[in-house]
């Protein structure tokens, strides 16, 4: 069979491929119309907001739009150029404009993100901007000596372009030095990376505890007779039907210093009256309550996978000579991996972004990165919040990628 097979055609002479495509085209269009509403919804409620958030994390025009003259000077002169009289003149013109438009605060806020305590520098100088006379360099320096500091000029240069990596620098505990180079902020000011690390470690710990607790429950659910397993399932799902706040407050009632658990321990004489354990408003509280809240997300994927594992596999293994432990380790556990993966991924991702529980029961040391994001949002520092969120997103995507490499996304089984 060395000849190329003749092009197949339909009875009326059209090429088979084209005929097939047109026949399937209509079905495909129909299918598309059916999913179009969902597609639109996803685009408007998910893709656009996330895109906007990511855009915000690298875009801030608070300075570039209020200081057009200086921005033009920065664009014309490469980084490292000493600010000359022209630069100061542009600055003075911009400050005057700011006074007129009352935008000095906006510009100051933008610079203040990267160099702290510079707000008053802008607002105070702008107030007197009309009265500035050339030579502007001397005039401005006379107004405030800070105008001569290279750090300020570096910050203004970075801010003169609305597209900036500044917020990612802040989010990774770094800053631009006087020479324009990027360096780590002093040890006592580093918070973000540490908090990211803590968030990931705590989330990992919570995921692990959830797995340890959920595995036997899911196994029980999957092997019990229907009537009993349904009852147990309701108990597992009960937290879902209770308001998050109610659940969290009940934990406060249970765990607080004068709470149920401590009272029982004291009355049993296991701890003294003054030895009451602090289990809430700290890291321990965050771990306990979040484990409870996220447990169903581990149980359900595990259960759905375990339900499909036929008991005959275990029986086969036993009949082939394996002890019950070997059967569990070599036959049962590997088959539950898709469930473990799905549950762990789900719980971890939810934990990493969890915000309300740590806010309520975390106290000072139980706060996670999401609480900081929320803090910056409440302070209208959208770009930094977005940069932190962006990093969180990348971290989660990285995890997803890792999971795909190790287990395979096609094996993910959520229900």
């Amino acid at each position: 069979m060395t000849d190329v097979p003749p092009l197949l055609t339909t009875a009326d002479g059209r090429p088979l491929k084209a005929a097939l495509a047109s026949a399937q085209g209509r079905a495909r269009r129909k299918a598309f119309y059916l999913v179009a509403p969902l597609l639109l919804f996803v685009v408007f409620s998910f893709i656009l907001p996330i895109g906007q958030m990511l855009h915000r994390s690298i875009y801030h025009d608070g300075f570039s739009s209020t200081a057009p003259n200086l921005s033009a000077w920065f664009a014309a002169n490469p980084s490292g150029t000493e600010p000359d009289e022209a630069a100061f003149a542009a600055l003075a013109a911009d400050l005057a404009e700011m006074k007129k438009n009352k935008t000095a605060g906006e510009a100051a806020t933008r610079i203040n993100y990267t160099v702290s305590a510079t707000r008053s520098l802008f607002t105070a100088t702008a107030r007197k901007a009309d009265k500035l006379q050339p030579p502007f360099k001397e005039a401005l320096l006379a107004e405030d000596a800070k105008w001569g500091e290279p750090v300020i000029w570096q910050a203004m240069r970075a801010a003169s372009n609305p597209y900036t990596t500044d917020f990612y620098l802040i989010a990774t505990d770094r800053a631009r030095g006087a020479d324009g180079g990027i360096e780590q902020v002093p040890e006592n000011e580093r918070i973000y990376l540490w908090l990211f690390g803590k968030t990931f470690i705590l989330s990992g710990l919570i995921t692990f505890i959830c797995l340890i607790l959920a595995f036997p429950i899911a196994h029980l659910l999957a092997t019990l007779p229907m009537a009993k397993s349904n009852l147990l399932m309701i108990l597992v799902l009960l937290p879902f039907w209770t308001s998050l706040l109610v659940r969290t407050t009940s934990w406060i009632v249970l765990l607080q210093g004068q709470g149920v658990v401590n009272n029982i321990l004291v009355s049993l004489g296991m701890i003294g009256e003054d030895g009451r354990i602090t289990m809430i408003y700290n890291q321990t509280g965050t771990i306990i309550v979040m484990t409870h809240i996220l447990l169903p997300f581990m149980v359900l994927p595990l259960y759905s996978v375990m339900r499909t594992i036929k008991p005959s596999y275990a029986r086969a293994a036993r009949s082939l000579g394996a002890t019950s432990w070997t059967t569990f380790r070599r036959i049962y556990l590997p088959q539950t991996l898709p469930g473990i993966g799905a549950g762990a991924l789900l719980v971890f991702i939810l934990a990493v972004g969890y915000y309300i529980t740590p806010a309520l029961v975390g106290g000072a040391d139980g706060q996670l990165i999401s609480n900081l994001i929320q803090f910056h949002m409440s302070k209208s520092n959208w770009s930094l919040a977005a940069a932190l969120s962006g990093m969180l997103l990348v971290g989660v995507l990285l995890l997803y990628w890792l999971y795909d490499r190790l287990v395979g996304i096609d094996k993910l089984k959520l229900g």
Binding site: L320, G321, A322, T326, R330, Q335
Partner: protein
């Protein structure tokens, strides 16, 4: 696609410790080497009803014994008790003279083939086969050799790196078989192993399993729904119903000499004529049907004149040509209702003694008389083909 077998190596190895069974099947009298013994075994799951009622069964070494019976009759339960997955509520199960009631399944050394094959989906074919050898602590070289031999045995060596999901049903079945045999068990249990296969493949696999049994000299306890399968493969068949063995006999006996009306009904097609014993002399009974006609039969478990009975006759043993009948045999009138053409045979439905579900099978030969609906004929049979049984 028919497969030959390359068994020589495997055979030698197993035969050292396993005697081959007799050529023409192990009959009930072979009691010298009782291998598996169910001794008054009872089983209840719920403490209310007995699923297995007083089971006494002895299986000889090298025997192929089939448990046949309707759904829910307790076949799987018996097999599970033997394998160790269910405990007998009462009674004793012995394997090779040893009471195994308390021996956990993994220490029984019994090979098992499941209906859905139960091949481990996360392991390749080779890993599946090497699993029982690994848990026995066997070295790598020995494992590989054994796996290869077992796979060669079922002609599947080229599939060693595939996963079970990449195999067809018949191929999976072969692998399951190879896995149950790879660790050289002397007893293999099979619970409806061919249930999920199509007819042709099933027949082929029946042949393969039978062949393996004969060449390896293993003892096989086989469970099936399919009476054809039971009859073609087994040395003996245990017909189960309602937690009891109704009859335990070689296939031919089971078919030709059913001991009670359940077995007569369950194995093959049977015509049943109810009546009353009119005369009873040694080996012969005269039965008067409800319509007053007399027929001949062989008494099986009827004992007295005047007793009610159910006479069963195989459709292929019914004759309608007087010259085929033995002298003195009774014949009765019948009306042809329909004749169905089935290729190799013609199947006529007749109205006999008031009921119209009497079936007669005729060979489709060149000179066969053509019967047509509405015709009245006279039918009869050899007295030994009609068996007078106690009605259930």
């Amino acid at each position: 696609m028919r497969h030959g077998f390359r068994l020589s190596q495997f055979k030698e190895n197993v035969q050292e410790n396993l005697p081959l069974h007799g050529e023409n099947g192990v009959a009930t009298e072979t009691r010298a080497n009782d291998f598996v013994v169910f001794d008054h075994v009872q089983k209840s799951y719920d403490g209310v009803s007995l699923v297995v009622k007083d089971l006494n069964l002895t299986i000889a070494k090298g025997e192929f014994l089939t448990m046949l019976g309707p759904s829910g009759s307790g076949k799987t339960t018996c097999l599970m008790m033997l394998a160790g997955f269910e405990t007998a509520t009462n009674g004793e199960i012995r394997l090779d003279g040893r009471n195994i009631n308390l021996v956990p399944p993994h220490k029984r050394g019994i090979g098992m083939v499941f209906q859905n094959y139960a091949l481990f989906p996360h392991m390749t074919v080779g890993e599946n086969l090497s699993f029982p050898l690994e848990v026995r602590g066997m070295g790598k070289d020995e494992r590989e050799a054994k796996v290869k031999r077992a796979l060669d045995m079922v002609q599947m060596y080229s599939f060693i790196n595939r996963r079970p999901a990449q195999l067809s049903g018949g191929q999976q079945q072969r692998i399951a078989l190879a896995r149950a045999l790879v660790f050289d068990p002397s007893l293999v249990l099979m619970d409806e192993p061919l249930g999920a296969l199509d007819k042709q493949l099933r027949e082929h696999m029946q042949f393969e399993i039978k062949h393996l049994h004969e060449s390896l000299g293993i003892t096989v306890v086989y469970v099936t729904h399919d009476q054809g399968e039971a009859l073609t493969m087994s040395d003996r068949v245990a017909v189960f119903n309602d937690g009891k063995i109704q009859q335990l006999a070689p296939p031919a006996d089971l078919y030709e000499r059913p001991e009670n009306s359940f077995v007569a009904q369950f194995i093959g097609e049977n015509n049943k004529l109810p009546g009353v014993i009119e005369e009873l002399s040694e080996g012969k009974a005269l039965v008067r049907l409800a319509t007053g006609e007399l027929i001949d039969a062989t008494p099986v478990n009827v004992t007295a004149k005047g007793q009610k009975t159910l006479v069963s006759i195989r459709p292929e043993r019914v004759e309608f040509k007087p010259e085929m009948m033995p002298p003195g045999a009774h014949m009765i009138g019948a009306e042809v209702i329909e004749v169905i053409y089935m290729g190799d045979i013609l199947r006529a439905r007749l109205k006999v003694a008031g009921s119209d579900d009497f079936v007669m099978k005729m060979r489709n030969t060149l000179g066969q008389t053509k019967l047509s609906p509405g015709e009245t004929i006279r039918i009869g049979w050899h007295p030994q083909d009609a068996r007078a049984l106690e009605p259930m």
